[in-house]
């Protein structure tokens, strides 16, 4: 199948994969996408392998999130950066099929009121914060509908630091990220629970109508069938069966 | 200070002559404009020059004819329009009506190269207007080097000679803000002279000078006139005007009320306003 996609590659002979910097855990490891560790890194290499690229033929490039959907030629073959599929976005760029089905989760400091009180009515009363451009923020606004306008930060790190300093009461992120934050990054914090799925999923981002999409979709389907995706999820993301579900 | 007194070339008949010229010009413009022979008879000629600032009409129909070599003194009350007249001749103000001709060429016509005109006219401003960011020497060599294309060292040498002549040799590397009023005025004179203009417009050029220097300037002006320069001098110093002028023009509210040789204007003025102006001066013993 390599011959079929060769003419459509950004650079001849290599698969150019983009992500933002910093690349967050647990999706990547140590801000180093090229080490093959972390869920998205592993997926990228696995997809590459399906398409016939050796590990050394996969090249990483930095693409800020804001720049990933700019019109014009892309400087990558695909972008893997926890980007959620939405129909609006799909009018500008093309997405692969889901390589991860997302559920949003709620993080707060351990001593926060929210840990105990999170009925839908209670949930409207807190001060939330989130990273700009995340679907988590849209989730807060469309599903939780808080009375106090949520804070919006440039990076997830700014949001985490705001949570630590008590400038926001809760943070919403996809479950793996939330798990990682509460377990490894902010010791005082706790994952309060995850919300029911809204059918959201992450997809690899391509230039609009990129012929590569079909091939990559096949590769992802193969990875699903052969259990690779489940294996990566287990290895890098854990399985969160223990996470309580809260109804928004 | 070679010649004690320069008698005007055109002598007593001059006033009548220029009157004739003005009329002739009005009758037949084109023919005379192109005629160098005719042109050479008049260095400066103003025809019905009007100038307004907003609502204020400052010059209200000036007719003036100046032959080459002549020294004309403009006298008149403060605010009568002397400075404005000089600025108009140098094209620093645009006239609202009338024409200005230099050596027979209409310089108020469209398409005239203002820079070429100004290259041949020097002006010393009443407020000096030295360039504060340049030394005295740079002030006076700027024109020669940048306009006439004289090499820098040649211009500096000539400039230094002029500065010596005006007692300013020690100040050549000073900046204008550090000079006394009289020193600034002399630099302004030198700056204009360094351009070797054919016509000089001097605006109150002795106002900040001590009497010794006034005599010196008087000598220089005579020398220049002898060498062919034409000069228009606005002045309040009647003694100076009497000494230097071939012709004195009395300006009042934007019109020339009276003109003639100084002897005539100062001793037997025809116009009653002139008489009044001079009477008070004479009364005060200031002539």
């Amino acid at each position: 199948s390599y011959a079929a996609i060769a003419p459509h590659l950004y650079k001849v002979g290599v698969l150019t994969v983009a992500t933002d910097s910093p690349a967050y855990e647990p999706w990547f490891d140590n801000n180093t996408p090229s080490n093959g560790k972390g869920y998205e890194s592993a997926v990228a290499y696995a997809v590459g392998k399906q398409l016939g690229f050796s590990k050394s033929q996969v090249k990483w490039t930095v693409e800020p999130f804001d720049a990933s959907f700019a019109p014009g030629p892309k400087k990558f073959d695909f972008d893997v950066n926890e980007i959620s599929y939405t129909p609006e976005r799909a009018t500008v760029v093309s997405f692969s099929v889901s390589y991860y089905d997302v559920q949003q989760a709620l993080i707060a400091l351990k001593n926060s009121r929210i840990v105990k009180h999170h009925t839908p009515a209670d949930l409207r009363t807190y001060v939330y914060g989130d990273q700009i451009g995340s679907t988590s923020l849209a989730f807060i606004n469309t599903e939780l509908r808080p009375t106090h306008q949520p804070s919006v930060f440039n990076t997830l790190n700014d949001a985490k630091s705001a949570l630590q300093d008590g400038r926001i009461q809760a943070l919403v992120a996809d479950t793996p990220t939330a798990q990682y934050i509460s377990s490894s990054e902010i010791p005082k914090s706790v994952l309060v629970g995850q919300f029911p799925s809204t059918g959201e999923h992450y997809g690899l981002l391509f230039a609009k109508n990129d012929p590569l999409v079909a091939c990559v979709n096949k590769a992802i389907a193969a990875l699903k069938v052969n259990g690779s995706l489940a294996k990566f999820q287990k290895e890098y993301l854990g399985i969160y069966t223990s996470v309580p579900t809260i109804k928004p | 200070m070679s010649e004690p007194d320069v008698t005007p070339d055109l002598g007593g008949a001059q006033l009548g002559d220029t009157a004739q010229l003005v009329d002739a010009a009005k009758l037949d413009d084109g023919a005379q404009n192109g005629d160098p022979a005719f042109a050479s008879q008049e260095a400066v000629r103003l025809e019905d020059v009007h100038k307004s600032f907003g609502d204020l009409e400052v010059l209200r129909g000036i007719d003036l004819s100046v032959a080459p070599h002549q020294v004309i003194c403009l006298i008149g009350a403060s605010g009568s329009g002397k400075s404005t007249l000089l600025r108009c001749v140098n094209l620093l103000e645009s006239v609202n009506r009338g024409r200005i001709l230099l050596w027979g060429q209409d310089v108020t016509a469209p398409g005239v190269d203002e820079n070429a005109v100004r290259r041949h006219i020097g002006i010393v401003f009443q407020s000096f207007n030295l360039f504060p960011h340049m030394t005295v020497l740079r002030n006076i060599t700027l024109g020669p080097t940048r306009v006439l294309g004289v090499p820098r060292d040649e211009a500096e040498e000539a400039g230094r000679a002029l500065l010596v002549r005006f007692g300013l040799s020690e100040k050549q590397d000073d900046y204008p803000d550090r000079l006394s009023g009289g020193q600034q005025q002399r630099v302004a004179i030198v700056r204009a002279l360094a351009m070797q203009p054919g016509i000089m417009l001097l605006d109150e050029v002795t106002s900040a000078l001590d009497p010794e220097l006034v005599s010196e300037v008087l000598g220089v002006i005579r020398e220049l006139a002898a060498a062919g320069m034409t000069m228009l001098i606005a002045t309040h110093e009647m003694g100076f005007a009497r000494d230097i002028a071939d012709r004195v023009c009395f300006l009042d509210e934007g019109v020339i009320l009276e003109q003639g040789p100084p002897g005539q204007v100062f001793t037997a003025p025809g116009n009653s306003r002139t008489q009044q102006f001079l009477r008070r001066i004479v009364d005060a013993g200031r002539l």
């Binding site: 999130f65 700019a70 019109p71 014009g72 609006e88 976005r89 500008v92 760029v93 700009i132 451009g133 923020l137 849209a138 989730f139 606004n141 469309t142 509908r145 804070s151 919006v152 930060f153 440039n154 630091s161 300093d165 400038r167 | 160098p36 042109a39 050479s40 260095a43 307004s52 600032f53 080459p68 620093l92 103000e93 050596w103 027979g104 060429q105 310089v107 398409g111 005239v112 190269d113 820079n115 070429a116 005109v117 006439l148 040649e154 211009a155 000539a158 000679a161 002549r165 803000d177 002279l193 360094a194 070797q196 203009p197 054919g198 220089v220 220049l224 002898a226 060498a227 062919g228 320069m229």
Partner: protein, 314 residues
């Protein structure tokens, strides 16, 4: 002595004042290029045509270039521009228009404080009294530091630093307040330098005249120097006004202040188009252009009052 008609001879014979005579006929005529920089009727045509061509080319670029449709879709999608302007909570879209009001509020409050603080700093820097040396030094250090440090770092430093200090009164302010504090700290340094330029442009003799009337140092500054200084530096002052207006956007990095640009950013990252940025930019232009035209008119009026006529030369 010969009357020199042209400039070919030696320049100024030594020690002699040589007057030049009449130039040859025709020497005053324009040289085809006209007397002004690019003057003349032909030049008029050239300048008009070239301007039209230039503007036309820019427009054509956006209409006929191969990728133009995509660019238009991303940057100038009218449907999405309207959505961005009004916002749509059901889709998680913020209102850029509402955000702008926040910008204006921050701008106005900050500007007043800046104009005042900057003046104090500029005046401190002008003092030559040895007694006040420490104040002068402080003013110099202040401008150096706050001009040198990027505004975003000042905003981070105050907005994230102050709450982290856990000091009562300081650590519990809103992001809005932190943001304005950071803007004032940073911009005062710039505006102080602009004032200083203005003050330096007023000639020493003006101060002498003011002091000679018995006006105190402060009063001569107030009535004589500053009015002239400010007139001179209106354009760069306006520069800083406009920058400030735009930099109010940076306050959004603190999280809680969703001003116009942040709203646009959220919308654009939600919908993957930049039209919302275009809306924000257009709104900002609607504020700054009238301001620019207004100050231009002010300057022109001032000049014409002081100089009516007498401006044949420039």
């Amino acid at each position: 002595m010969p009357v020199r008609g042209s400039r070919e001879g030696a320049y100024l014979d030594e020690q002699t004042l040589l007057a030049a005579g009449a130039p040859p006929p025709g020497s005053f005529e324009g040289n085809g290029r006209g007397s002004h920089l690019l003057g003349g009727q032909r030049a008029a045509a050239v300048s008009t045509v070239s301007t039209v061509v230039f503007i036309g080319a820019v427009i054509a670029l956006f209409v006929f270039a191969p990728g133009a449709a995509a660019v238009r879709h991303t940057f100038f999608n009218p449907q999405q521009m309207k959505q961005a302007f009004l916002g749509d909570p059901s889709k998680g879209l913020y209102s850029v228009g509402k955000g702008l009001i926040l910008n204006i509020e921050m701008f106005l409050i900050a500007e007043v404080l800046i104009l005042f603080c900057a003046l104090v700093i500029a005046v401190l820097r002008q003092l030559r009294n040895p007694v006040l040396f420490p104040f002068r030094m402080l003013a110099v250090v202040y401008t150096d530091v706050f001009r040198g440090v990027p505004l975003i770092i000042v905003i981070y430093g105050i907005g994230f630093g102050a709450p982290a200090l856990y000091i009562r009164g300081i650590s519990t302010q809103s992001d809005f307040v932190y943001g304005i504090a950071a803007l004032v700290l940073s911009y005062s340094a710039y505006v102080a330098e602009v004032y200083r330029a203005g003050i330096n442009s007023v000639h020493q003799s003006q101060v002498a005249a003011a002091r000679s009337l018995g006006l105190s140092q402060w009063k001569s500054l107030r009535f004589v120097v500053l009015p002239q200084a400010v007139r001179t530096v209106i354009p760069p002052l306006l520069n800083d006004f406009i920058s400030l207006q735009k930099d109010t956007a940076l306050v959004s990095t603190l999280g809680a202040v969703i001003e116009a640009n942040r709203a646009a950013q959220i919308d654009s990252s939600t919908l993957f188009v930049y039209s919302s940025y275009t809306v924000a930019a257009l709104l900002f232009l609607c504020l700054t252009i009238p301001l620019a035209r207004f100050t231009d008119r002010l300057i022109a009026r001032d000049v014409s009052r002081r100089l009516a006529g007498g401006r044949a030369v420039r």
